[in-house]
């Protein structure tokens, strides 16, 4: 590729941005050419989002210049950025779930007929856009919220491309909630756009996807530019080392730890589900996990992993079967009762069901412990601080103080705060639903190691992840789900392809 100046869509030079107490970006350069997919990588808190926010006019840089199509610009606001042809599709979808798909796509430019919206034309137009741009065939008159997150994401992309006619498209972790199939669909759209000259900035945590789709890779760490390479000339291992700033030999050690621990697994089950199920939610299944064991739940998106977790934790009532904790039948299914029985769930959706964002780190950590003790047995602030400090140290949570609102922490640290909340109740069974989603490689490894060390202490852990490799690495046993049904159970040493076949079993 020749470095023709005219190819440049975006050029950011020497961008610096600081927040009180943090240098979020320090003299970072970044550019985007026409017709390329440029991956932007870095850990949580590395400065990726800050850089994107500068480019999209959400934040104003302290220093540095931005050139767009060769001319220096000052981007005043997100609207201004959009007018300039820079569109962003965020990880959290910012469309209206209570409007129809067609309305979401065409909002603001609905086709009119005699002063009122021409619904027929609008639906037809939206339908046509989805087919043409994404090759998707869905009912555009249904409410957006009735579709899966994956489809909502696609609709957001369709809107950005078609309506805002973007030349620069920023995809902020677009694939984190997509199935493999949908990801491929998205990639084919990205390739098509690339061939049409659109520049795409692709932010993700999935390294494999970066290699599949991107032309160049820029790595940021601690607010500094680490490197910018052609994807083809950057070996995977080297990339990971760049991202986490240290060697990853430790990852290989985990297999060994796991094997050693297998001897410590107790004979009796601490959690035992028999024929447990709920109509139209999850098929009845048997499941058990023992002290000192990590049980993995594997399956595709929508296979019933989360549903199983919610049932075991008592968010939902089963309508068949029994659940025993420590040999005793569970009669009342509620989170409160589960906490009393020593069952903890770190939920899949951190933002929605995990963190209480305006409360402090301290309060977030003691929340479940306090609710387990009831209203009146108040844990006073001194004790709260002590407990919070202990877990901040134990889990290596990066926060300026225990009294910091948890929303000011990075995603990885928020996840650790939720883990701390559940570890604080000293659970017997810990259910972790996607504890590493949206988290950088370094923190990911930390959490995986933590899972193993918890089992080593004798806790029973149920580990759920959509990354099969991770499930295999951490679990002694793996239960495979497909179409809301348990389809198999394997030892943790099983070859990956055996599981993949099982997972894909009923998917045609």
């Amino acid at each position: 590729m020749n470095m023709n100046k005219e190819d440049l869509l975006v050029e950011m030079k020497g961008i610096s941005k600081s927040f009180p107490g943090v240098q979020a970006l320090e003299n970072v350069d970044f550019d985007l050419r026409t017709g390329e997919v440029h991956a932007l990588l870095g850990g949580n808190g590395a400065g990726k989002s800050t850089l994107i926010k500068v480019l999209t006019g959400v934040l104003k840089p302290d220093k540095g210049k931005i050139f767009l199509y060769g001319e220096e610009v000052t981007i005043r606001s997100p609207q201004h950025a959009q007018e300039l042809g820079i569109s962003t599709v965020y990880q959290e979808i910012n469309l209206c779930p209570n409007l129809s798909v067609a309305e979401n796509i065409l909002i603001g430019r609905e086709p009119m007929k005699r002063g009122v919206i021409d619904w027929k034309a609008m639906n037809a137009q939206a339908d046509e856009i989805l087919r043409r741009v994404l090759g998707m065939d869905i009912d555009v008159t249904r409410l957006l919220g009735s579709y899966s997150v994956a489809i909502q994401q696609m609709v957001a992309i369709a809107r950005a491309l078609e309506i805002e006619s973007a030349k620069v498209l920023i995809l902020d972790e677009p694939t984190s909630s997509l199935t493999a199939n949908e990801t491929q669909q998205l990639f084919s759209v990205m390739r098509k756009l690339r061939s049409e000259g659109v520049g795409i900035i692709f932010i993700t945590h999935f390294i494999d996807q970066v290699y599949e789709i991107s032309d160049r890779i820029t790595v940021i760490r601690n607010g500094k530019l680490i490197s910018c390479d052609q994807t083809a000339s950057l070996p995977k291992m080297e990339l990971i080392v760049k991202m986490i700033g240290r060697s990853i030999n430790e990852l290989d050690d985990m297999e060994n730890i796991k094997r050693k621990m297998a001897d410590n697994i107790s004979e009796t089950s601490v959690l035992e589900a028999e024929n447990l199920g709920k109509y139209e939610w999850i098929q009845p299944m048997d499941l058990d996990v023992r002290n000192g064991e990590v049980l993995g739940l594997a399956g595709l998106v929508g296979s019933g992993r989360t549903e199983t977790a919610l049932l075991l934790f008592g968010i939902d009532d089963p309508d068949s079967g029994t659940l025993k904790i420590d040999g005793k039948n569970v009669r009342k299914f509620s989170p409160t009762n589960s906490i009393h029985l020593g069952v903890a769930l770190s939920p899949e959706d951190r933002k929605d069901a995990g963190i209480v964002d305006d409360l402090t780190v301290r309060e977030n950590i003691i929340l479940a412990l306090q609710s387990g003790q009831g209203l009146l047995k108040y844990i006073n602030v001194q004790q709260q601080k002590k407990i919070a400090d202990e877990f901040i140290r134990l889990l290596d949570i990066t926060t300026p103080s225990v009294d910091q609102p948890v929303k000011n922490l990075s995603g990885g640290n928020q996840q650790k705060v939720i883990l701390a909340r559940w570890l604080a109740i000293h659970p017997k069974v810990l259910i972790l639903d996607e504890p590493t989603r949206g988290i950088d490689v370094g923190t990911k490894a930390e959490i995986q190691k933590l899972v193993l060390s918890l089992a080593e202490e004798g806790k029973a852990v149920i580990f759920i992840s959509s990354e099969l490799e991770e499930v295999m690495r951490c679990s002694h046993r793996v239960v495979v789900l497909s179409d809301r049904e348990k389809v198999g159970e394997f030892s943790g040493d099983t070859e990956e392809h055996v599981l993949i076949e099982k997972m894909a079993g009923s998917v045609t």
């Binding site: 409160t336 964002d357 609710s371």
Partner: protein, 360 residues
């Protein structure tokens, strides 16, 4: 070194939750000090204190009582529009218990003669207060059940009682305004022990509520439910029960405010007692910095919010603003106060204070 720690204290002060409400109140009082002669003059009459400032506090006491309950409801992410109507119900219940002849209770002739006597009451005072508060608690419970367990939006659920409540209040008294002659009852709103008696009610209510919310886990649970009900549920907090508790308590506060208001005007007036006062209570909470979407709350800040509203009204009266212009001018002042809270003004304010706080 000393200077730095001083600017640090100053910064902490300006970031504190209660700073803006106090600033707003101070601005109004400063205005009063300049433009209204003898505004701060306090007289001693018969061992009690009188003056405009004391008037402000006394007149604000009903809104302060309501604001305490409203703060907790708003912190859970809800709202209670029915407090004014519950005040009317409370005043009707209290009046009918002291003088039940209106609903056909026959008094023996020897008692009937005393019906207008300042020392006569049909039911003893403690019974009147207890039953009135119990009825108000039931009203709050009703709101709480609709919001927490029936999943009805708070504004709709409490709107029901807001509309029906005044009707209920009239049904209780057969549609009649009952005069209250019993003197000890009047002491609730008009009594004076150095300071107006109603201020002691506010103080005790505040103290108890503050202790309950900050020395048990209730305060944190209320905030947690207001910020993220789903995450709270997942953390084992019984979020429905927390909401029920908040609405029930708000009903109790409304009953208390009803007692104060009716003893103040010596009538049960189902139409006018607490009319549009729910809006003042909500405004007080908002001026106190609690977000309407729920979450973090501060009881002292809400009390100051109530004082701000009353200070505005009293100032207008003192300046001789005609009654018909009062609402409009009050609105203008409230807009000014609320502007203090807006993001752009906050940023500006922070800039000014941080420059001043910088060591020379």
């Amino acid at each position: 070194m000393k200077k730095k720690s001083m600017s640090e204290t100053f910064r902490r002060l300006t970031e504190s939750r209660i700073f803006l409400p106090i600033l707003a109140l101070l601005i109004i009082l400063l205005f009063d000090a300049i433009f209204i002669p003898e505004f701060f003059k306090i007289q001693v009459r018969g061992g009690d204190l009188y003056g405009r400032v004391i008037d402000i506090m006394r007149n604000a006491s009903t809104v302060m009582v309501l604001a305490i309950g409203m703060t907790l409801v708003i912190a859970t992410g809800g709202i209670d529009l029915s407090v004014g109507a519950v005040m009317a119900i409370a005043s009707s219940v209290a009046a009918i218990m002291m003088n039940p002849t209106i609903i056909g209770v026959e008094l023996p002739p020897n008692l009937l003669a005393f019906i207008n006597d300042p020392n006569f009451t049909y039911s003893p005072l403690w019974e009147v207060i207890l039953v009135t508060l119990a009825v108000s608690i039931v009203c709050g419970l009703w709101n709480g059940l609709l919001v927490a367990y029936m999943d009805i939006q708070a504004m709709v659920a409490t709107l029901i009682l807001m509309i029906a409540g005044r009707g209920i209040a009239q049904l209780i008294t057969n549609g009649v305004r009952i005069q209250i002659f019993y003197e000890p009852y009047s002491f609730i709103g008009q009594g004076w022990i150095l300071l107006p008696f109603s201020l002691y009610i506010v103080a005790i209510l505040f103290l108890i509520t503050w202790l309950i919310t900050r020395k048990t886990a209730i305060g944190m649970f209320i905030e947690s439910v207001g910020i993220n009900p789903k995450a709270s549920h997942y953390s084992g907090i019984k979020e429905k029960r927390i909401k029920l508790l908040a609405y029930t308590f708000c009903g109790f506060c409304a009953g208390l405010a009803g007692l104060i208001a009716s003893s103040n005007i010596k009538t049960s007036d189902a139409f006018n007692i607490g009319k549009t006062i729910e809006l003042d209570a909500i405004l007080a909470v908002v001026i106190g910095g609690t977000s309407m979407s729920g979450g973090r709350f501060s009881l002292p800040a809400s009390l100051i919010g109530a004082l701000v509203i009353q200070a505005i009204t009293t100032t207008m009266y003192a300046l001789g603003v005609p009654a018909f212009a009062l609402q409009a001018i009050k609105g203008l002042v409230v807009v000014f106060v609320i502007l203090l809270y807006s993001e752009p003004v906050r940023v500006l304010l922070n800039k000014v204070t941080s420059e001043k706080g910088r060591p020379l």
